[in-house]
Structure formats: C-alpha cells, structure tokens
C-alpha cells in the first residue's frame, strides 16, 4: 500500500495536503482546470476539488468514483497591509478606482465570490475587477504583493500570508456553502491506495490537520 499517488488538488489545499500525506505527488491548481485535465485523460489517482459540483459532474461522466465531502471553508476579503485604497469593509469596494482581483467564473473561488457579492447586494462591485485569476493563490499573490487593492480568498489562504495582508470578514449570512470533495479517479492504477487516501481525509488525523490550517469541520 505504499504506492505514491498523483493527487490533483484545489490550489487552496497547497499547504495542508503535503502535511497530511507528504509522499504523494501533487498538482495544485484551479479545480476547474484540474477537472478539465481529468476529462482530457490526465493520469491521476485522486481529485480533490474546492466544490462538490465538479467532482459530481465527473462522477456522472463515469470518470471518478463517488465523491466524499471532507472539509469546508469560508471566504474573506484581503487587502495589502498598507491598504492603499483604504478599504475597511466590503462596502468600500464600491469606491471608484478600487483594483479588485477575483477568481475567474468557473474557478470555484470566483463563483463563490460572485455569490458573496450578490448576497451583499454588491453585484456592481464587479465593475472594479481588474483581473480574473485562474486560481485562488493567484488572487492571494496579487494582493500580498501589493499590486491589487483587494481580493476575495478563502480564510485558510489568508493565514498563509499573515503579516502581508489585512483581512476583512464577511458576515455569516452572506457566506456561500464552500464544501471540498475528493474522489478516486477510475482510471487510477492504484485504486486501493487512492481509496485509502480519500477515506483517510475524513479520518481524525487529517481532520485535525485541516482544522489546524483553518479549515472547518465537514459537518
């Protein structure tokens, strides 16, 4: 059972997955990009997505086994420490000229961001978007570098650049349901090991590490 698995995982799992299983080979990126790679026949053993609909879709297409929800997350607004645009609440994003960076449509964090803005009645804020990024870590980098004025990321991403960004919380009632689901890729040559990995994700050790990184209980 000591097969080295190839795991395609959401970019927001970049820091925590190697802590859970250091030996695996990881390819982190936007979940939608990873799903497209699986559809094009990329060799992989496990797919871990920052939403449930992408693995469900692959499951319906017969490409992966039944997905398992293993954790949850929340969205947060981040601004560079220097806060050049003077943003102190999500409603400040309406100011003209704010350089807002978000995930692209189709990228989980991009879709969640649009849900949050809609829930807050801030759809018009999208006119301040200066870049649609391909995964959450690109959003994080552009804000942490100080190039963008603000960006929406997961709570867990913001924790990885503490000291370089300030965070602004989003009220609970506006939060989307951010569930992560993992599934065994049916074409895997290490099916048993892949199933064991997915099973272990909901086990106590992995759950403790996910919580330590700021992820939420899977409920």
């Amino acid at each position: 059972m000591n097969a080295i698995l190839t795991v395609l995982a959401a970019a927001s799992l970049t820091n925590v997955f190697p802590q859970i299983a250091p030996k695996n080979h990881y390819s982190f990126g936007g979940s939608n990009m990873l799903a497209a790679q699986i559809q094009q026949g990329a060799p992989a053993d496990v797919f871990a997505s920052a939403n449930t609909n992408l693995p469900e879709q692959l499951h319906e297409q017969g490409l992966v086994e039944k997905p398992v929800v293993f954790t949850r997350n929340e969205l947060i607004l981040i601004v560079p420490k220097a806060n050049p645009a003077g943003i102190h609440s999500v409603f400040d994003l309406r100011k003209a000229g704010v350089k807002l960076v978000v995930g692209a449509v189709g990228v989980p964090v991009g879709d969640y961001t649009r849900v949050v803005l809609h829930n807050l009645g801030l759809d018009d804020v999208l006119s301040n978007v200066v870049s649609n990024e391909t995964d959450v870590r690109e959003v994080l980098a552009k804000v942490a570098l100080g190039e963008a004025d603000a960006g929406f990321v997961y709570v867990t991403d913001a924790r990885t650049v503490r000291g370089r960004v300030a965070t602004i919380g989003i009220r609970w009632s506006a939060q989307p349901i951010v569930q992560y689901a993992a599934a065994v890729v049916k074409s895997s040559r290490h099916l048993a090991a892949a199933r064991a990995f997915v099973h272990a994700l909901v086990g106590p050790v992995a759950q403790r590490k996910l919580r330590a990184a700021g992820f939420l209980a899977r409920r």
């Binding site: 560079p80 449509v105 189709g106 870049s131 649609n132 990024e133 552009k142 570098l145 100080g146 190039e147």
Partner: protein, 257 residues
C-alpha cells in the same frame, strides 16, 4: 540500405510528432467555437497590444541595434548579452521582474499592472530582444564600402542611413521583426503575471485559450486554431522576407565587387 531506412523512419516520426498536435487542433474543431465575445475581445486586445508593442520595438530597437552594430566600445559584448537575455529568460521570471520593477510595490512604483499598457510592456520586453539581435546582425552585414560611397557622394549620415543602410538591411530587419511579432502574439507567462487577465482589457488570445480550456474546450480549440493560422501566416511572411533579403545581399555583393 538498412541505415537509410532508419533515417527515413526517424524523419517521418519527427514530422508526425510535430504535425499531429496541429492537425489535432483542426480535426477536433467544431463550428461555432469562434463565436462569442471572449474570442472577439481577445482578438482585439491581442491585435492592439501586439501592434503597439511592435511599434515600440521598432522605434527603440532599430537605433539600439544600429549603435551596437556600428560602434565598438568597452563592455559592448556585455551590453549585447544583456539585450539578448530576455530571449532565454523563462516568461515567469520576466513577469516577476516586470512586477519587481514596474509594479506598484516595485522599484519605480508605476501603476502599470492590470492595464493594457502592461500587456504592451510585457510583450515588448520578451519579444523586442529577438528583433534587436537580428537587427544587429543585419546592420553588421551591410557593406561598409556602400556606406562610404554614399558619404563620399555627399549624403549626410541621416540620409545615408535611410537611403542606403536601411534598404540594405531591410530583409534582416523584417525577418527579425516577424520573429518578434510571432513571439509577442504568443506571449503568455509574463502577461498573466504582470498584467493579469480581464476580458476586453488585458486578456489576449493565449490567455483566453488558457481560461477557456476548462470552461469551454471547443472555444479553446477554436482560439488555438486562430493562433495557428496567424502564426503560420507570419512564418510564410518571414520566409518570403528572408528570401528577398538574400537577393538584396547578392545585389550588394556584386555591385561592390
């Protein structure tokens, strides 16, 4: 005979390897992939930024190349190496470098990132050196006796440059510019890092291919086919220019000999 057969098999395998991905793009192409605002917006952004960048490359690169080709000074080879460096630099490094230099938090504190001007800067940075390198070679191969003759006949340095040097170097300059144009059109890494990706503003054709890959594979294929067609047209132009440049050189050699 056996050895000859192996050579043929190797050559055919290599040809198939190069042709297959290009053929596959067109084989899997479906009609309608090119409709939609993503494609037209990306095409407009790509054309605007590529032409602006190449205008910049020609305007600044031509005098730079001429000075480097006609002057010998200490440290010249170092300068030439520096000019050529972006050619071999990984695009991601170019992107980081541009951010570190021209980013808001960079050395010069410009507000360039996320603007269309940032795309122009990224494209000029990665493609310009290809033109300059070729232009230096083109200017160096201009027959000095032709230049001297022009000066003896009373033409000033500026007139000599435009009437003698430029026409003689034309083929080489055109070939260099075609390569730079093609490289600029395909620019991806430095652009996405330095300029970001926003439809209608900074999203060029290659960036749109990348985004559409997971949203709509058919659109990505159509965009890919569009880029193949434009690039192939460029290559044909390049070959045509290269052949016209050899005839120019032949003319120069015979008349000076």
């Amino acid at each position: 005979m056996i050895r000859k057969g192996i050579v043929w098999i190797a050559a055919l395998a290599a040809l198939a390897f190069i042709a297959l991905p290009i053929v596959a793009i067109f084989a899997r192409l479906s009609f309608g992939g090119l409709s939609g605002s993503v494609v037209s917006d990306a095409l407009v952004v790509s054309l605007k930024t590529t032409f602006a960048a190449q205008a910049l490359v020609l305007a600044l690169g031509t005098p730079t190349a001429y000075v480097l080709a006609t002057h010998r000074f200490p440290g010249r080879s170092l300068v030439v190496t520096l000019v050529e460096l972006p050619i071999v630099l990984p695009p991601a490094v170019a992107g980081i470098g541009l951010l570190a230099a021209f980013g808001r938090a960079g050395l010069l504190h410009t507000g360039l990132p996320f603007t269309q001007a940032a795309v122009v800067v990224a494209v000029a940075f990665v493609s310009g050196p290809l033109y300059v390198r070729q232009a230096i070679a083109a200017f160096e191969s201009v027959d000095e006796t032709m230049v001297a003759a022009s000066r003896t006949l009373g033409a000033g340095p500026v007139k000599t440059f435009f009437r003698v040097v430029l026409p003689l170097a034309r083929g080489g300059l055109g070939a260099g510019e075609a390569i730079a144009f093609a490289r600029g059109l395909g620019e991806f890494g430095a652009t996405i890092m330095f300029a970001g990706s926003l439809q209608g503003v900074t999203q060029t054709l290659p960036l749109a291919v990348y985004q559409e890959f997971d949203v709509n594979f058919h659109t990505a294929l159509a965009l890919g086919a569009l880029l193949v067609a434009v690039s192939a047209a460029l290559l044909v132009t390049l070959k045509w220019l290269a052949s016209s440049s050899t005839s120019t050189f032949r003319f120069a050699a015979s008349s000076s000999g």
